[in-house]
């Protein structure tokens, strides 16, 4: 359970931080770099989705 939570937190953390970078780069007009970091957001979200689909079994 703790490993699953750890990995989920990491995935959401990466998504949050990369989203902040995308926002900043778009405000600066750096669309190409923003696109690269957006790919990292999507990757992190996908990882989080997979983790959510495979939660650990509840401990008795």
């Amino acid at each position: 359970m703790s490993l699953w939570i750890h990995e989920l937190r990491n995935a959401i953390n990466a998504a949050c931080t990369n989203t902040a970078v995308v926002k900043m780069l778009l405000e600066q007009g750096e669309t190409e770099r923003a696109r690269q970091f957006n790919a990292a957001v999507l990757s992190a979200c996908e990882k989080a989705r997979m983790l959510m689909e495979n939660p650990p079994e509840k401990e008795p």
Partner: protein
């Protein structure tokens, strides 16, 4: 100096994005994905901020803490996606540590970066406020000034510096110029030091033959400082009639040389300075109000040295360092000398400090500068009627005696009031006074003697 950050996290996606955010906050970012690599980087380079993941492939962020010389580096934060009470307790028991949980909110990360940046100011070698060359000191007022200088450096706003004589107004003006990146030179003129009949010529220049003795064209400081910074020191000493011309030059961004007709563009940043209260100068007619508003887009008040805490020691050390370089010496200020520096009021501010340190450097024998008794530094104290300053080593009996006598003096011998302030009974005050009187103190000098 640009602050540095090391981000240690095996999640490369997060580390990379965090590095970009840190760079946007002005940091030079280094990334690492393992304890071993981070240790190598930290051995080679001092970091103002270290953000380390608790769980790394080859160990823990805690290993970094335990193997680090923390005094060498700045702010440290641990981040984890698997928080535990044990790790939190271990983290906060180490100095200068923050314990952050994933997912980290970007605003929270920026806030931590700003705190680390502030810490970096305090730990910059030789105490340069925020790394601004020439601006020594890490006290709160100086850091606020450095912050303002950073914010306005790239703009064209006029700046009015106020502060007592010797507080370093020209140093701040030069620092602003250096930070601005302006292509032209820094030019300073003391409006109070130039005879009033010559001041117009010095400011705006003159054409050949424009007045008796004008044998050739003269380029004034406005033109000399083109694309740079012009410091108008002691602005309130400028004749009021000339202030009208100055205002026109500032409004139009151009000057006409004395005796000339041609308008010459003068793209300069103006930094004016005065040791007088500008509002009082306006009230007395020494400064035109419209000129004041034109000069004071941003107004910066420089604190007297006695309000800058331990900056005085940092500045004195810098003076000694320069003197050592000049005279190939190895002198240093002793701890007692530093205490003497901190006790003195410094009415002449940095100028007086420079003079006192130089005098001690040249007069005192040996390498240890003690600022000997009898010197102006040791003679006067920063202490006022409402405060007591003690040096390390003062006996408890002496501290008690001074606290009692000074508190009684402060309350005009009102013993119940003094007793309340000191948190003791009136009877205790009487007992202390009796004990002091029976010792070597002349009872007639005691506050209670006449009461």
């Amino acid at each position: 100096m640009q602050p540095t950050v090391l981000i240690v996290d095996d999640d490369r996606s997060f580390a990379c994005a965090a590095g970009v955010l840190a760079a946007a906050e002005g940091f030079k970012a280094r990334l690492s994905h393992s304890v071993q690599h981070a240790m190598q980087l930290l051995a080679a380079e001092r970091m103002d901020f270290i953000l380390a993941d608790l769980h790394l492939p080859d160990g823990s962020g805690m290993d970094l803490l335990e193997n680090l010389d923390l005094s060498r580096h700045g702010h440290i934060a641990l981040i984890t996606g698997n928080p535990s009470i044990e790790s939190a307790v271990r983290a906060v028991s180490a100095p200068i540590v923050e314990y952050l949980l994933k997912p980290l909110r970007p605003e929270q990360f920026k806030e931590v970066l700003r705190r680390a940046s502030t810490h970096a100011w305090r730990t910059t070698p030789e105490g340069h406020a925020s790394g601004i060359e020439g601006l020594v000191g890490s006290s709160e007022p100086m850091r606020a000034i450095a912050d303002t200088l950073h914010r306005i450096a790239g703009t064209d706003v006029s700046v009015l510096l106020t502060g007592e004589s010797g507080t370093g107004k020209e140093v701040v003006a030069r620092a602003l110029h250096d930070l601005s990146g302006r292509k032209g030179p820094f030019v300073a003129i003391n409006c109070g030091a130039v005879p009033s009949e010559l001041l117009a010529s010095q400011l705006f220049g003159h054409e050949r033959g424009s007045f008796t003795g004008a044998h050739s064209r003269h380029i004034g400081v406005f033109e000399q400082a083109a694309h740079g910074t012009l410091m108008l020191d002691e602005i309130t000493e400028m004749p009021i009639a000339l202030q009208v011309y100055l205002l026109r030059a500032l409004e139009s961004g151009s000057v006409t040389r004395v005796g000339g007709l041609e308008l010459v563009e003068t793209p300069v940043r103006i930094v004016a300075a005065t040791n007088r209260d500008p509002h009082a100068a306006i009230a007395t007619g020494a400064l035109r109000e419209d000129l004041y508003y034109r000069l004071a887009d941003i107004s910066i008040a420089l604190p007297p040295l006695c309000h800058r805490g331990e900056d005085v020691v940092q500045i004195a050390r810098l003076f000694v360092k320069r003197l050592n370089e000049r005279y190939a010496g190895r002198k240093f200020i002793s701890p007692a000398g530093e205490q003497a520096l901190l006790r003195h009021r410094w009415p002449g501010n940095v100028r007086e400090l420079r003079s006192a340190v130089q005098r001690a450097y040249l007069v005192e024998p040996g390498d240890e500068l003690r600022l000997l008794p009898g010197s102006p530094v040791a003679a006067t104290s920063r202490e006022s009627e409402a405060e007591i300053v003690f040096s390390v080593g003062t006996s408890l009996a002496e501290i008690e005696r001074q606290a009692l006598l000074k508190t009684l003096g402060h309350f005009h011998n009102d013993k119940p009031a003094a007793a309340r302030a000191l948190g003791i009974s009136v009877r205790t005050i009487h007992n202390h006074l009796a004990r002091l009187a029976s010792a070597d103190t002349d009872p007639a000098t005691l506050p209670g003697a006449a009461a």
